[in-house]
């Protein structure tokens, strides 16, 4: 009984020390977490694989019954794509010639790293993912995580073979964005709900519902013009955003390295900067 009470007290103290260390020495504790994720990731992956296999089989079955209509849709889309391809080729040629005339310095291209999602670290307290790509695959802290539809989050911890992504819906996520059309700048601020809020908009900003929101590229962490989502108007100048990517169904993600070395985006600094520019919350 005495030993039980002693171990209880010791373990409570150890937990409290970890919590305090996490505040005082975040890098040390995050390093410990990255190593721990590397150790646990293969176990989680092993448990996840059969679930993924069953889910894929169910998807295949559904696709089998909709094959005919899907085929017709794809043929139509393919014909449209061919028209676009011709237009793009012509515009690319024109663009190259104009850049040559202006001696325009070309920006480095984007490099993508594909990774499989093995854990959706959801719950009401945090929104994130663990993926099967790490330092050995070239992943770095601060990389943008995307799907074909748009931005989903930021890489925050990198282990040797695995990484953690904080989703744009997480309470701690802050993404600098621009509203397409109006050009207004804002911060997409996660609140753990499926629709993050748009904060620090200019005082006189009036956004149209459905307007496309893209990354602004400010803060030096994301490439500009990555689609983030569409505006939802709640009235009284309050706006939120429906993410462009379906965050509820993420099996694979692409991590984007756009060769900037601006360091991690500092949400606090951005907030201060936004306030200094007379934006509203």
């Amino acid at each position: 009984m005495m030993a039980q009470r002693f171990s209880f007290a010791i373990l409570m103290m150890l937990s409290a020390i970890l919590l305090i260390l996490g505040r005082a020495q975040p890098q040390m504790v995050e390093g410990l977490r990255s190593h721990a994720i590397d150790i646990v990731a293969p176990v989680v992956d092993g448990i996840h694989r059969p679930i993924l296999a069953v889910s894929n089989a169910a998807d295949d079955l559904v696709h089998y019954f909709t094959l005919r209509s899907e085929n017709e849709q794809l043929r139509a889309a393919n014909a449209q794509m061919k028209e676009w391809q011709n237009a793009v080729a012509s515009l690319q040629k024109e663009n190259r010639e104009l850049r040559g005339l202006l001696h325009f310095k070309t920006e480095p291209g984007l490099a993508y790293i594909s990774a499989r999602v093995i854990a959706d670290t959801g719950g009401a307290f945090a929104r994130g993912l663990i993926v099967t790509a790490g330092r050995q695959d070239g992943v770095r802290e601060g990389m943008a995580a995307t799907t074909g539809d748009g931005l989903i989050g930021t890489v925050t911890e990198v282990g040797e073979w695995s990484s953690r992504i904080v989703l744009i819906t997480d309470l701690n996520s802050r993404i600098p964005v621009t509203i397409s059309g109006s050009g207004d700048r804002a911060i997409v601020s996660g609140d753990n709900s499926p629709t993050p809020r748009l904060k620090f908009l200019p005082q006189d900003a009036v956004l149209s519902p459905g307007a496309v929101v893209v990354t602004s590229g400010h803060g030096g962490i994301f490439p500009p013009n990555l689609p983030v989502g569409n505006v939802v108007d709640h009235g009284h100048g309050q706006y939120s955003l429906i993410p462009a990517a379906d965050l509820a169904r993420l099996n694979y993600v692409r991590l984007v390295d756009f060769n900037l070395r601006g360091g991690a985006f500092n949400p606090v600094a951005s907030r201060v900067s936004a306030e200094a520019h007379g934006r509203k919350n």
Binding site: Q4, S7, F8, L11, M12, L14, S15, A16, I17, L18, L19, L21, G22, R23, V29, L32, R33, A36, I37, V40, V43, V44, I47, H48, I51, S55, A58, V117, I118, A119, D120, T121, G122, G123, A124, F125, A126, R127, G128, L129, I130, T156, R164, V166, D170, L171, N172, D191, N192, S193, P194, D246, A248, R249, L250, N251
Partner: protein, 172 residues
Amino acid sequence: MTDGLWLWLDHKMRRAAPVVTVILSVIIGVLPWPLPYFGVVAPQLALTALYYWTLHRPDLFPASAAFAAGFLNDVLTGLPLGLSAFLYVGMRQVILVQRRFFAGHSFFMLWAGQALAVIGGMVMEWILLSLVRGQGGPFGLIALQILLTILVFPLPCWLMIWLQRMLLAVEV
């Protein structure tokens, strides 16, 4: 000699059932299920498993196991390291103190105890997170998660009763 080794291994594996159940519940809680937004409000099975085994076999689910499960939860979910560990060890101790009140009575008494443990645990987690990070998140989602964790209790409870009968009934 070989029989002795197998018997010893069998004995150890059976006794590990409570710890394995809680650890598996933590891992299952972070798997990406093919259900839209299920992850946001997925039942906290780990809290249910922790409650059940602390009530019924505290000797096989020591404080160190609660700490390990909490630490694993923090690692996987991205919560501040030590938060779930603190909570799980604390919850185990509170449940242990109230053990005589909830264990060995009717199923509904067991369910009521789980409801109290889950409400207390998750509200405490929200308070701790608010203290550590300055914000705990929208309480509506947490309330929904609490409700789902309480509503699905019969299923994991039935599984753990079955495990206890199958693996630990003959165990000495």
